[in-house]
């Protein structure tokens, strides 16, 4: 296999290198790629969409159709992880910890669960007390990360970033919660159902905004059809993009959490990193 791999690599590499012979220079301002479509975008994007970040303008408007499917891909990934790993079976083995004394009970093959309350807590198999310092720091950091994530989502028009990046950061803030405390905390705080609904609803926001344009008499995704819904018709496209980005953000954040939770707990949603 190694030799075969080497041969394939050499062949493909040779082919690719052969193709580079005819490339324009790196960074050549006059290369076809930098002049044909790119000029149209750069010169007209702001005028047409009122969005200074051309990348966002293209992403959410000119090629918004791509981005819609990109969001669908993300949704699909979340769903796939859920579908593949989610395991609804209860574990037979359970571990409980008596909080005041710190004694750990190992219950094998129990039908009835111990009542989890003030005295007992349900813990993982390889449980360790969560680290005080990490916990405290993360506790403080998480809201900041989240507000930052939301900021990123909302400012997709002006700065790099946008729905996807913001969503990922928001998702990682949730992951951070799970890492610094315990997976159970995350699952308890944000129910699986909520995550699932958010993932679908986020994409639905996108597709919905895009689809509403059709009964309004314009083509799919043509935000200018939404004029009657917004108070600032001049910025209608920018606002449309904002709405879309929010949808993306919701979906991505939820999906990231779903994927993490499912991978780290093998789909049981009980114990994790």
């Amino acid at each position: 296999m190694k030799f075969f791999g080497f041969v394939v690599v050499c062949l493909v590499g040779g082919l690719l290198l052969y193709g580079t012979a005819d490339f324009p220079d790196w960074g050549d301002p006059d290369s076809p790629a930098s002049t044909h479509l790119s000029d149209i975008y750069i010169e007209h994007a702001f005028e047409q969409t009122q969005v200074p970040n051309i990348v966002t303008a293209i992403l959410a408007d000119y090629r918004g159709f791509d981005t819609m499917f990109e969001t669908a891909v993300i949704f699909c990934a979340g769903l796939a992880c859920f579908l593949l790993l989610r395991d609804f079976k209860e574990r037979k083995e359970r571990f409980y910890r008596h909080v005041p004394t710190g004694v750990i009970l190992h219950v094998k093959n129990s039908k009835k669960a111990l009542r989890v309350g003030r005295d007992f807590e349900h813990i993982d198999k390889d449980w360790i007390p969560s680290d005080l310092i990490i916990k405290t720091v993360c506790r403080i950091l998480i809201p900041f990360i989240q507000i930052y994530a939301l900021y990123v989502v909302a400012h997709g028009d002006f700065s790099p970033g946008g729905g996807f990046q913001g969503g990922v950061i928001f998702g990682s803030s949730l992951i951070l919660l799970a890492i610094s405390y315990d997976l159970k905390i995350l699952v308890r705080r944000i129910k699986e159902k909520v995550l699932g609904i958010c993932a679908a609803a986020g994409v639905l926001v996108y597709v919905g905004i895009a689809a509403i344009c059709m009964p309004m008499g314009k083509s799919f995704l043509d935000y200018s059809a939404l004029e009657m819904f917004v108070f600032d018709p001049h910025h209608v496209r920018a606002l449309g993009m904002l709405g879309v980005e929010i949808g993306v953000g919701i979906a991505v954040a939820a999906v990231m959490a779903i994927i993490y939770i499912n991978i780290v707990s093998e789909g049981r949603h009980d114990e994790g990193l």
Partner: protein
């Protein structure tokens, strides 16, 4: 060994009962968040401000108990004392940094270092105080907190004897003072 058993989830359960008790942390979190938003955003368009408001509300509504699991008015004073603590610690860090630089560039590096682990106990009780102290220790070059628990027991890895002997030192006093705890 017992460890902190509080978890934010449980706290939120308890605290929703007391309306005021949850309202204040919420409000303050909201303001902090909104302030952060403004700093981050740097734009004062009404739409963005509205969005900021909504975002801050969202974050603070769902996660207010993360920053302030148990809200006390004392925190205001703590905050100001903490601000005064910062320059001092920065200076300390700077000072020690040069020490570390010296070690790093020393040609016979292995001879001058003598890593060891120091364990000491403090009477700090609150999480935040312990964390502050632990992080301050870590930030001060030459020493890294290996672990700290809610009983105030610190385990510190020191790079050489000199730094090891200086522990916990003045820093503990300062931190204890900030959070109004006994040493």
């Amino acid at each position: 060994m017992t460890v902190s058993t509080r978890s934010p989830g449980q706290n939120s359960c308890k605290q929703t009962s007391g309306y005021l008790k949850s309202f204040f942390p919420f409000l303050i979190t909201f303001f902090i968040m909104f302030l952060s938003w403004i700093v981050l955003s740097g734009k004062f368009e009404p739409l963005l401000l509205w969005l900021g408001g909504i975002s801050s509300f969202f974050v603070s509504y769902y996660f207010y108990d993360l920053i302030f699991p148990d809200f006390k008015l004392k925190y205001f004073t703590v905050f100001f004392r903490f601000v005064r603590y910062i320059p001092w610690i920065l200076f300390e860090i700077l000072k020690a940094n040069f020490h570390l630089l010296y070690i790093a560039f020393h040609p016979r590096l292995k001879e001058i270092i003598d890593p060891q682990i120091v364990i000491f106990k403090t009477n700090l009780k609150s999480d935040i105080a312990i964390t502050t102290l632990a992080n301050s220790i870590t930030l001060t070059p030459g020493t890294i907190t290996v672990s700290a628990n809610s009983d105030g027991v610190f385990k510190v890895h020191a790079l050489d004897r000199q730094t090891a002997e200086a522990l916990p030192g003045v820093m503990l006093e300062k931190v204890a003072k900030i959070f109004g705890e006994k040493i």
